[in-house]
């Protein structure tokens, strides 16, 4: 969290994390296309020639003034490919909240588990335990004919107790619900920290 005192702005950083091709960038693209242009930035994407995220995607949302502050939500994705693990860690640093985008395809179970565990490792290295940062889980690609069910995915990832949202990001389904959920969780966390 960052407060620009002069401009009375509250900045919250949310990172979309997950395995390669799980739909992280698609989430941001859907948000970009569906948010009133006067309330969002341009989307910054650093991609390879194969259209894969090289470093990160970035999009900023600006909400109307709330109490004394103008909130800005900074959305980032991490590169999904394991090759870019160091970059993923960098983008994750300083996050106020994380959306874990899991791939519901049965062949991607191991990739989901590996990404989940690496995220845990990275957050721990920042001295930010999983319990200390809001996390929302999205089970994307639920339109696949052989998509794993929510129950199965929850058991595989051991994500009990976290907010879960099924999604078909390519159609925008579940994208906004996920965004709202992580935003509310982050705001609640900020309030808890401030109240201490």
């Amino acid at each position: 969290m960052h407060i620009n005192w002069q401009q009375k702005e509250l900045h919250l950083k949310v990172v979309y994390y997950g395995p390669a091709l799980s739909g992280k960038t698609t989430n941001l693209e859907q948000i970009y296309s569906r948010v009133d242009p006067s309330h969002r930035s341009e989307m910054v994407s650093l991609k390879t020639h194969e259209d894969r995220t090289l470093y990160f995607d970035y999009l900023q949302l600006e909400l109307g003034k709330i109490s004394g502050l103008t909130p800005k939500i900074l959305l980032y994705t991490v590169p999904g490919q394991a090759y870019y693990e160091a970059s993923r860690k960098l983008v994750l640093r300083g996050a106020d909240g994380v959306v874990f985008v899991a791939d519901s395809h049965p062949d991607r179970v191991n990739a989901n588990i590996e990404a989940w565990q690496m995220m845990h490792t990275h957050l721990s290295s920042f001295e930010t335990p999983m319990t200390g940062i809001p996390i929302v889980v999205q089970f994307n690609k639920q339109d696949l004919p052989d998509a794993l069910s929510e129950t199965v995915l929850k058991a595989l990832l051991h994500v009990h107790g976290l907010p879960i949202y099924p999604a078909v990001a390519t159609r925008g389904e579940g994208v906004f619900d996920t965004l709202k959920a992580i935003t509310k969780s982050v705001v609640a966390q900020v309030q808890r920290v401030m109240a201490r």
């Binding site: 969290m1 005192w5 002069q6 970035y58 300083g94 920042f126």
Partner: protein, 177 residues
């Protein structure tokens, strides 16, 4: 400092990886940047936080350009930092120099929370620019950790019980569906 102010300041320190910039600090950063601009006849100076959020720019930028520049700047320095860590070369006060024909670009750490971008005309000696930029970056890094007495976060409404609902409503208002 009153007891309440002490409590507020304590709360601030507990925030995760967050910094708070107040107007006095921004004024001081601007003053240092202007001094650097005069000494080096810089083309452009920008101060951003490690997440890429612009705090100061020597000339107005449209928001989208400011966002893009800030993000890339943070990413560039972060990559370099990680590269240094991986190779065992990491040290504080890192400086990246991108030498060009028309101008030279310096990206430097300003403490652990801020970054300083300085673009200097090509005819300015790099060694001279490097010394002044490193000193300015050091001072900026110190400013941001100067205790702030005017902080009053509670007056910003962050203690509103319905704050999460208000945020949800605000998101609903900007979503076209």
């Amino acid at each position: 400092m009153t007891e309440q102010q002490n409590e507020v300041t304590e709360s601030r320190k507990k925030l995760r990886n967050g910094i708070t910039v107040v107007s006095l600090q921004e004024d001081a950063i601007k003053k240092l940047a202007v001094e650097l601009q005069e000494k080096l006849q810089t083309v452009f100076i920008m101060v951003v936080d490690t997440a890429g959020q612009a705090i100061y720019a020597s000339e107005p930028l449209i928001e989208s350009k400011s966002n893009a520049l800030g993000s890339l700047l943070a990413g560039d320095l972060s990559a370099s930092q990680e590269l240094a860590r991986v190779t065992g070369q990491y040290d504080l006060s890192q400086l990246i120099i991108r030498e060009g024909i028309e101008s030279t670009l310096f990206i430097s750490e300003a403490g652990k929370d801020l970054l300083l971008l300085t673009i200097v005309p090509g005819q300015v000696p790099i060694g001279w620019a490097r010394i002044l930029i490193k000193e300015t970056a050091r001072q900026i890094g110190e400013i941001i950790h100067t205790p702030v007495s005017e902080l009053d976060l509670l007056s910003l409404g962050l203690d509103d019980e319905k704050l999460t609902d208000i945020y949800e409503e605000s998101l609903n208002n900007i979503w076209n569906g």
